[in-house]
Amino acid sequence: MRPLLAVIQKELRAMSRDLHGLLVLFVMPAVFILIMSMALRDTFALRVSEKVRWQVWDADHTADSAKLVTQLPPPEASVVVRGPADVERALARGGIQVGLLIDQGYSASLADLESARAVVTVLAEPGMPPALLAAFRAEVQRAVTMQRAAKLLEPVRAMAQEDHRPWPTLEQMAGSGLVAMKFHRGAGAELTAVQQCVPAWLVFAMFFVVIPLSTIFIQEKQQGTLPRLRSLRVPMATLLAGKVIPFYLVNLGQTALMLLVGRFVVPLLGGDTLWLDVDWLALWAVATAVSLAAIGFALAIAAVARTTEQATTVGGVANIIFGALGGVMVPKLVMPLAMQKATWLSPMAWGLNGFIDVFVRGAHLGGILGPLALLLGIAGLCLVFAGWRLREL
């Protein structure tokens, strides 16, 4: 027991003095979580939270066209638009994101079912986020549809008024209150950017132990400390456990820090708050399984590589590929179906799915056995391989 404690203490001391390693393991993922939680906020939101900057040129100059504008979010009020050219100039400058051009004859076309000519044009700036543009276009389409419905139903409304019968407002006719949108969340939370980014970058950071772990290990091989320890009859199992336990503690530290960032720091910047009313046993189980898989992978790399350059290159590139493929860098839900299936090739995806199951689907231990089995399986294989490769040290 004493040799193991000595190895663990040495490892923790060495890590605590490696500033660059600490930055990579703790600061890098926290920064990624902050940036990506803000960047992906609208990708995960049901409503567009950002206000669209837009201008309108109304060539119709009718009560209908004026009413259309009032039914949309307010445009850039201080700008006087003298024609469509002004709108296009504003778009070119980047001053607005959308120009709404209402042609002459808009009011007449509302009652003309035969007309197929477009009388309202949504002119968008090319760099505008597609989700934002789609939401604005849907708002315009909804307003036009309701105006046309009112126009077509005008004779019926007149008869109803003559008979003193009630006539619904446009909002009542649209029946938007009849449809509710909810996520089936079980005991979990809505999948927001922060619920996606915290586990994603946490898994990525946990796998990044490959850099410090393999570097230290290969330096020990090259400098002769490992052979020296072996000559002192320190069992390989003790040496491996002396790596696994400290880096497991580091991974748990990363988990705690990233949860705190998601819970308290991201909301300060205007992002969503990480929902943490989870099964903590399940959360610990996923974190442990990801940690063991990451450490096993790092030891396998360290056992194969001959130089620190080889280890950091192979480990770093493999991590980036795992991250890109596993839905860390690009969320799985925005991937095409074939790519979503391919995420299963990445161990990071197994960990991420386990975390998402806990955070979003409110899964308990029984609900995450699949990801746990995969992660622990790869951890076991890697550790056995590393032990076998290092047996002759």
Partner: protein, 303 residues
């Protein structure tokens, strides 16, 4: 204390034997100097003795006090410690992996620091120590377990003369404390300075092994002569043919003669005078290990 019998080892089946039929016995309290050029097989032999490699043939017998945990220590050529830890932390770590704890560990660490003269830098990170201090720390780590057998693999490589002298003195002190030491080096003067017995290796084979005086006596005494001027060609040829002048000799103005046993040195000097060679200095005396090595391998130790 340690007995090696017909040890053979090679790294792959395609390689030549790195250690080839090596046998010797190590007695308690002696310093064995293991001498050989780079690539002779010294480090591999140390790895076999320390159990890092298993011999493919032969056997190693260790006395119980050596076979016990911490009974021997290998001090490798490399700086085999942790540069980001302090000297004391390194020693505490290695004491810890040997299972030492509490006051025993403190005492052993303090003792190792004292023996290696590291008191002034004990709390300094190892990476910030000079080359000589790193060598001392390397040695101190070997001493922290208080081993009976110490395997020192080229312990003075790359150190300044003061540190070298300190390390050699430390080895001599270890012998007086009853420790057994295997000291490998390709510096003959070091091996000659600290060893009771000497083993010479080349190409994996043990060429000789014995008491230092006995090994030195195995080669002929040498006469070094400094003539007043260069030798004429016919004179040189005559001295090579008849008087043991080594061909190619004359480096730094000195001529080297291997004087055969039974031939008086005065006769060689008289012949030089007869040949018209004016001698301004000469040295005659015991051989050194370089001569022995040259005789055994027909090449210089530093080739």
């Amino acid at each position: 204390m340690l007995k090696l019998h017909d040890l053979r080892f090679r790294y792959t089946a395609a390689d030549p034997w790195a250690v080839d039929e090596v046998s010797f016995e190590l007695r308690r309290g002696e310093v064995l100097g293991l001498l050989g050029p780079n690539g002779a097989g010294k480090t591999t032999l140390m790895a076999l003795i320390s159990g890092l490699r298993r011999p493919q043939q032969g056997e190693i017998r260790r006395a119980p006090e050596v076979a016990a945990r911490g009974g021997f220590a290998l001090v490798p050529q490399d700086h085999a410690f942790y540069p980001m830890l302090t000297c004391r932390e390194n020693l505490e770590f290695f004491a810890g992996v040997l299972g030492l704890g509490g006051s025993t560990r403190r005492e052993r660490v303090d003792a190792a620091i004292a023996v290696a003269g590291l008191g002034a830098v004990a709390r300094q990170r190892a990476s910030q120590c000079s080359g000589g201090l790193k060598r001392r720390l390397n040695l101190a780590i070997g001493l922290v377990g208080d081993p009976q057998l110490l395997l020192l693999d080229e312990p003075t490589v790359g150190v300044d003369p003061q540190s070298r002298a300190f390390l050699l003195e430390t080895v001599r002190n270890l012998r007086t404390r009853g420790k057994t030491v295997v000291y490998t080096s390709h510096y003959m003067e070091e091996v000659q300075a600290v060893s009771d017995r000497v083993a010479i290796m080349d190409h994996g084979r043990l060429l000789c092994c014995g008491a230092l005086d006995a090994v030195l006596a195995e080669s002929n005494p040498r006469l070094l002569v400094r003539p007043a001027g260069p030798l004429a060609g016919p004179v040189r040829a005559a001295l090579i043919a008849g008087w043991g002048l080594e061909p190619g000799g004359g480096d730094g103005g000195w001529l080297s003669f291997a004087v055969p046993a039974g031939r008086p040195v005065e006769a060689v000097l008289a012949e030089l005078r007869n040949q018209g060679v004016s001698v301004i200095r000469f040295v005659y005396g015991n051989n050194n290990l370089e001569d022995v090595f040259l005789k055994l391998t027909h090449r210089s130790l530093r080739d």
